[in-house]
């Protein structure tokens, strides 16, 4: 793996720090006119999700991390692992619950997810910003109540529960913003 000097640290660059794969979030160059230059760097530990801050002397370097983002299709859950497939190479990987994290709320077979691979194994799974899922259970829809803006809980095919407007019925497909977990709109079938 290549190594990168502080002046090559860019947001998104994946590097190894203290044996952990990290993604650089921010790199502030600090230098007095007369004096040593430093780089104050913020990194996200891709294993723990924690943000680290580290101050380097300019010119120090870090090893690159073998981390890549891959668009992959969700296949199924075998009870322990979640299986994803590269739709081009048909290569399959299995992710554990920790790697999938909150993305499990939005996993629908054949949808594409961004799987972050570290040394070829899934480190994290990021859902698309919007997903379309079917409501499997909710209270009956109330006609004529559209203006009042009330909401009710709806159970989705993935097991997740989201708040939906009162007029939405069981069996309908809705669009959800995965970043906020909120209902966006009804999807006409």
């Amino acid at each position: 793996m290549a190594s990168y000097s502080t002046n090559e640290f860019r947001s998104g660059l994946k590097v190894m720090l203290d044996g952990e794969p990290c993604s650089i979030l921010d790199n502030e160059f600090v230098k007095p006119g007369k004096g040593q230059a430093f780089n104050r760097v913020k990194l996200r530990n891709l294993n723990s999700g924690r943000v680290w801050e580290r101050t380097f002397k300019s010119g120090e370097s870090l090893e690159g991390a073998d981390v890549m983002d891959q668009e992959m299709e969700y296949l199924y859950n075998d009870g322990e692992f979640y299986h994803f497939m590269d739709p081009n190479s048909f290569e399959q990987v299995q992710a554990d619950a920790k790697a999938v994290g909150d993305a499990k709320n939005w996993l629908k077979e054949q949808d594409l997810f961004t799987v972050t691979l570290y040394n070829g194994a899934p480190l994290s799974v990021t859902p698309p910003n919007f997903v379309e899922l079917e409501i499997v259970e909710t209270d009956p829809g109330l006609k004529g109540d559209t203006a009042q803006g009330g909401t009710k809980p709806a159970h989705l095919s993935t097991g997740a529960v989201v708040k939906v407007p009162l007029f939405i019925s069981q069996g309908e497909v809705i669009r959800i913003d995965t970043r906020s977990g909120e209902y966006v709109s009804r999807v006409k079938s």
Binding site: G33, K34, A37, T55, G59
Partner: protein, 286 residues
Amino acid sequence: MEVETPLLASAPVTDPNIDAITTAHPAGGEHPMYLQTSPEFAMKRLLAAGSGSIYQICKAFRCGERGRRHNPEFTMLEWYRTDRDFGGLIDEVVAVVQLAVGSQPILRLTYAEAFARYCDLDPFGASLSELRDYAARNMELSFDSDDRDLWLQLLMSTQVEPAMPEDHIVVVSDFPASQAALAKVTCVDGREVARRFEVFYRGMELANGYDELRDAGELLRRIRRDHEVRQGAGQSLPPIDRLLLKAMQAGLPQCVGVAMGLDRLVMLSNDAHRIDEVIAFPLERC
């Protein structure tokens, strides 16, 4: 008098913390030339030749300096006064800054006062391990060093500058003698201090001024020390500017001088957060 000096020089600054951009000699041959990191050497040659007080606005270049407040090619306003003293130059620099940012109040501190106020440290008396421990308590570090000045510079940049009051133009003077650069060194209260000041606004360094060193022998000693530091760190050993040395030997008049980062002044007068906002084409767009 306004002057203009060449951007190309046969010898760069020897300061271990400043790297000049090297370029081929236009006339060929084995010796490279250097883009100036400031017009200081050429202007001092003019002063030694009897120019009297001079100023210029020019480009300066520094290798590897890129960030929110740095572009490797930047604009400098530099001037020298043979008719003012150290305090008189500080007043003039503050007046120029006020032209850009308005007549904000001034806070004058010595280097020791600034550290005492914002770091609760005595920068002259604190031991190496006290400085290092203070830094390590305040940030995660990837390095160690037994260079006191490195720790002082780190604390200045990361603790002192950000803690300066937002609405004051802050002048810090009397730097440690080890950070004198080309300023005279005098004794104040039994301490060796450099007759050097810096001006800050909103925690950003704007200008660096000296009561200029005139002793050619002392200049040579400082160059030798720079070379030793560079050698120890495996850095290149730049040639010595013999033209400057000759001018200093012939006699530099008593003078004070200052270099001001003009891009930063423009940033402040426009509430810009990044230097890229005030440069049409920063490095990545050249």
